[in-house]
């Protein structure tokens, strides 16, 4: 614990460049310097040496130590404080900035409590002074004591406790905590969902277990019905497969499937054979006889008609050859009726062609007659048109050219050829007359040329008709003999057609007989096939009976009866095989279902296990959370309790008495003095109000709010006096009081009163006072006011001076001590 500071050594700290030693070994140390000369830097170095921190700077940033070094210094800043302890031994406290490893020592080893105490009760920093100014300058006239309360909170570090109380409000209630922590809320939700998940899993497990039991019961029932050949096999998947294989192996099953397939095929064949047998039985043989008889009768009738028709055919072919008509050999004989039809068709076509040729010849004759008449008409028209008029047309054209030549050279009405003056005639101008004459000549020329063109056309047409007539005449002369031959052929064909028509009934009769023969022959072939199939079916049925092992002596003679017997035997065997195969398939399907269910059960068990593990982890995490919440709650409770204790211990009647005393010394003309009320608990929060009581009265009820009766200036003084009261109220840990420029807006009276009070604190309470001021006159005044008044007193006046190079501040100190004067009393 610090009794007296003796020296401060700083190096490259703030405005101090290089090592600077500051003497402090005096009752009062007055430090003066204009703004920016390093007063606060010096006090910060002192605080840094004692506590290892500069609270005012830490409020801005945690890495503030980098701001402590001199701006041009390369080394780390250092602050080393020498002091005497209350126990009497000289000590020092050295505090480097971070990373200053070689000197990172604190030989004095002040406890954290000692360091905090220095900050709270021994040092009025600029920031706290700023609070005082807030009080003084508070614009909130309604609640001027609020800055004072803030000052008190800061002075007592109540902010620490209140910040804890407010900041830990959330942990007081788990619902509030969940709103603040997303992960915790999610964890709680998940925890709440676990029972429901577990119920769902249990229900699913019951369902699957039921399904598995049902499958096993089914397998057991089937095995019981088929005969369990391996009763000792376990009721596991492998064991059940062993049991199923024992009933019927896969190989046996395959063989059984082959047999069943073959039997089913045989059954199909038997059904087919039986159908044929039924269809072909009975009538087939009888039909065969009647059909054969009908065939003979038909053939006989055909043969009776054939000679006549053959003769007709030969004759027709002869005629056709004679008229040069070829008949394609389409239908082979003996279908004579069809052949005759073809011959008749060919003859009819030839007859039609000949008729056409005869018609054409007649048309040529008619055309020639018409052309002759046309030619005569054209000749008449040419003659009517007269002689050719081309010459007359030429003459008229020449005349027009002459008149045109005259017109081009005409300048008046005097004719250039006859010399006559046409103006004298009174029948228009000469030019008009010539123009009229030219128009008449033009029409005449056009008419003459049109007549010439018409004549040329008529002559050309007459010539063409004449050529056509000559050509027709030439051809008619050549075809005259052919027309006669055509007519002869026509007559022959016409005769043939009549002969063919005459034998139409015979031809029709032969055709009917021939068609009947054809039909009978087809039916005969079908009946023969059926009889053959019937035989084959009987053979198949017999063969199946052999295969089924039906003894020959027990087989019925009737094929259908035998087929029925074979069919029944086949049905029985197939049913047996299908029953065995059905059992095996059902066993295998049920086993597969059981295995699937077992796998699902296994997965379900794994899911349940995972759920249990997760729940365990959730519980573990929630346990951790609870631990932290409980710690936080215990801290909140401790903070609240500490606040209550602090307020009760600090703000007792002793402090209130001292506070009132100091306040009155600083404020002479004030009726009220401040005091702190007894702390009360409300909603878990400890509160204490700054009240005001009437001075020198017995009034019991105080004013609940000091701001309602104290002026802002006096609230400011109340704050300063409270700090000094707190400083003085207990047995001192440190006998030093550090004030950083506290007098900034006081009038002379207040300054004098403060000086008087500080002198009392130094003299009466034995404190060492470190005081910074920024006004020279005040500095000089305080040198006198706080100066030595007895032999043991001392005062150090320290002046900070910025050097010329502005490279930092230097220290000039002067020690003041009591000097015996020449004052005497009495005779």
């Amino acid at each position: 614990m610090i009794k007296r500071l003796t020296r401060l050594e700083v190096e490259d700290f703030r405005v101090f460049r290089g090592p600077v030693s500051v003497p402090l070994d005096a009752d009062v140390v007055l430090i003066y310097g204009p703004n920016g000369s390093g007063k606060t830097g010096l006090i910060s170095a002192l605080e840094f040496a004692v506590t290892g921190a500069v609270e005012d700077l830490r409020a801005f940033s945690d890495d503030y130590p980098r701001c402590l070094g001199h701006i041009r210094a390369s080394g780390k800043p250092r602050s080393c404080l020498f002091f005497e302890s209350i126990a009497g031994e000289p000590l020092y406290q050295s505090t480097p900035t971070n990373g200053w490893s070689d000197r990172d020592v604190k030989p004095a080893n002040l406890s954290e409590a000692d360091r905090r105490f220095f900050i709270e009760r021994r040092y009025l920093s600029q920031r706290r002074l700023g609070r005082l100014f807030e009080i003084y300058q508070s614009s909130d006239k309604q609640q001027p004591e609020q800055p004072l309360i803030r000052f008190v909170r800061e002075l007592l570090a109540l902010d620490l406790l209140e910040n804890l109380t407010i900041g830990l409000y959330e942990v007081g209630n788990i619902t509030r905590m969940q709103k603040g922590s997303r992960l915790l809320a999610a964890l709680k939700d998940e925890e709440a969902s676990v029972p429901e998940q577990r119920t769902r899993l249990r229900q699913k497990r019951d369902e699957l277990s039921g399904q598995l039991k049902e499958s096993l019961d089914t397998i057991h029932a089937i095995l019981s019905s088929t005969g369990d050949r391996t009763p000792n096999a376990p009721w596991t998947s492998a064991g059940l497969r062993t049991r199923i294989e024992a009933v019927e192996s896969a190989e046996q099953s395959e063989k059984l499937s082959g047999t069943l397939q073959r039997l089913q095929q045989s059954q199909g064949e038997l059904q087919s054979a039986l159908g044929l047998l039924r269809a072909a039985s009975g009538a087939a043989v009888q039909d065969l006889g009647s059909l054969q008889a009908g065939l003979v009768a038909t053939e006989t009738r055909e043969k009776a008609i054939e000679p006549k028709l053959t003769l007709l055919l030969q004759k027709a072919e002869q005629v056709l050859r004679s008229v040069k008509v070829s008949v394609p050999q389409i239908t082979p004989l003996p279908d004579i009726s069809r052949r005759l039809d073809e011959v008749e068709e060919a003859a009819a076509k030839a007859l039609a062609r000949l008729d056409t040729e005869i018609g054409l010849a007649n048309e040529t004759t008619q055309e020639m007659i018409s052309l002759d008449a046309r030619a005569a008409g054209l000749e008449g028209a040419i003659r009517e048109g007269g002689a050719p008029s081309a010459q007359k047309s030429q003459e008229q054209r020449r005349r027009a050219e002459l008149l045109q030549g005259v017109l081009d050279h005409l300048t008046n009405d005097i004719c250039p050829t006859c010399g006559r003056d046409y103006s004298e005639l009174g029948s228009g101008t000469l030019k008009a007359r010539i123009t009229q004459e030219l128009g008449a000549l033009g029409l005449d020329i056009e008419r003459l040329e049109s007549a010439a063109r018409r004549r040329s056309q008529l002559e050309a047409e007459r010539d063409a008709v004449s050529r056509r007539i000559a050509a027709i005449k030439e051809r008619a002369k050549q075809d005259q003999s052919s027309v006669e031959a055509i007519q002869a052929s026509r007559d022959q064909l016409s005769s043939l057609m009549n002969a063919l028509t005459g034998e139409a009934d015979s031809r029709q009769d032969w055709r009917r007989q021939h068609q009947e023969e054809t039909r009978i022959r087809a039916e005969l072939r079908a009946v023969e096939v059926r009889v053959s199939q019937q035989d084959k079916s009987k053979s198949q049925i017999s063969h199946l009976a052999d295969e089924l092992g039906i003894p020959k002596e027990t087989r019925p003679a009737d094929a259908q009866a035998l087929a029925e017997l074979v069919s029944n035997q086949l049905r029985t065997q197939i049913d047996e095989l299908e029953r065995r195969r059905g059992h095996r398939n059902e066993l295998l399907a049920t086993l597969a279902r059981a295995e699937r269910t077992a796998r699902e059960l296994e997965e379900l068990d794994n899911t349940t296990k995972a759920l249990n593990e997760r729940e365990q982890r959730i519980q573990t995490a929630l346990g951790r959370v609870d631990q932290y919440i409980e710690k936080a709650r215990s801290l909140a409770r401790a903070a609240n309790s500490a606040k209550e204790r602090l307020l009760r211990e600090v703000f007792n009647e002793t402090l209130n008495g001292l506070w009132g005393e100091l306040f009155e010394r600083l404020v002479k003309l004030e009726t009220f003095v401040p005091r702190l009320s007894e702390p009360t608990a409300r909603r878990g929060q400890i509160r204490a109000a700054i009240q005001a009581i009437a001075k020198g009265t017995e009034r019991i009820d105080p004013f609940e709010q000091a701001g309602s009766v104290l002026s802002a200036a006096n609230l400011n003084t109340a704050a300063l006096s409270l700090f000094l009261s707190l400083h003085l109220v207990e047995r001192p840990r440190h006998r030093v009081l550090v004030l950083d420029d506290p007098i900034q807006s006081m009038d002379d009276v207040h300054v004098g009163q403060l000086a008087n009070l500080l002198r009392g604190i130094v003299r009466e309470a034995g404190r060492q006072l470190i005081l910074c001021v920024h006004e020279r006159s005040l500095y000089e005044y305080l040198c006198l006011e706080l100066g030595p008044t007895r032999e043991a007193d001392s005062l150090l006046a320290i002046e900070l001076i910025r050097n010329a190079a502005d490279d930092g501040s230097v220290i000039r100190s002067e020690r003041h001590a009591w000097k015996q004067d020449l004052v005497t009393f009495g005779m």
């Binding site: 900041g167 959330e170 959370v625 932290y628 009155e664 047995r731």
Partner: protein, 195 residues
């Protein structure tokens, strides 16, 4: 109220000693200039001059005080001097200013409470002198908090909260939430990565 009662009050509650008169500064004697002269408090050499101004004009008092002040200055005395002026009515401001230029001044009018006026000169009664036991120490908030928590705070979580509380409630709240979020994070089962 007179010079004698003032002297007695300063002696009893201010720990001043009544000095024998006349007051001399070197070879200059101030006989009868002041109604009472006191020295103190305790062994200090401060001078308190009690003047009954009810029977003297202020100009006389000013003249006598000026003479003393000049003598002290001439002999380079460091003694602080306080004049206690007893008057019927408060003097005007200019007269007070003239006196204050020469010395500290306490004016006690007829209607004033003498003790209140003399308070700056009276002994500063400190609690530890009479009431507080020597072992009583008012503890700081940190210390009390530590005591409430049962000793030194070693738990990192609590240390972090207290560190945050030195800044703001929201820092405390954020520190709690971050720690709760870390605690609420599920640990990965063996052989698996974190959820």
């Amino acid at each position: 109220m007179n010079a004698e009662s003032i002297s007695n009050l300063l002696r009893s509650e201010g720990r001043y000693k009544l000095a024998a008169q006349p007051l001399r500064v070197q070879d200059l004697e101030f006989k009868g200039d002041f109604d009472a002269v006191l020295e103190g408090p305790n062994d200090e050499r401060g001078l308190v001059l009690v003047v009954d101004g009810t029977a003297l004009p202020l100009s006389t008092i000013q003249r006598r005080l000026k003479a003393l002040s000049s003598a002290l200055t001439r002999t380079r005395s460091m003694r602080p001097t306080t004049v206690v002026l007893i008057t019927q009515q408060p003097p005007d401001d200019s007269s007070v200013a003239e006196l204050q230029a020469l010395s500290r001044l306490i004016v006690i009018s007829a209607q004033d409470n003498a003790k209140d006026c003399l308070r700056p000169l009276l002994h500063l009664k400190l609690p530890q002198d009479s009431k507080l036991p020597q072992e009583q120490v008012v503890k700081s908030a940190d210390t009390i908090l530590q005591e409430e928590l049962g000793g030194q705070i070693t738990d990192p979580f609590l240390s972090a909260l207290i560190k945050a509380a030195r800044k703001s409630p929201s820092d405390v709240e954020r520190t709690v939430r971050e720690q709760i979020d870390r605690a609420a994070k599920l640990e990965a089962p063996e052989g698996r990565s974190h959820d």
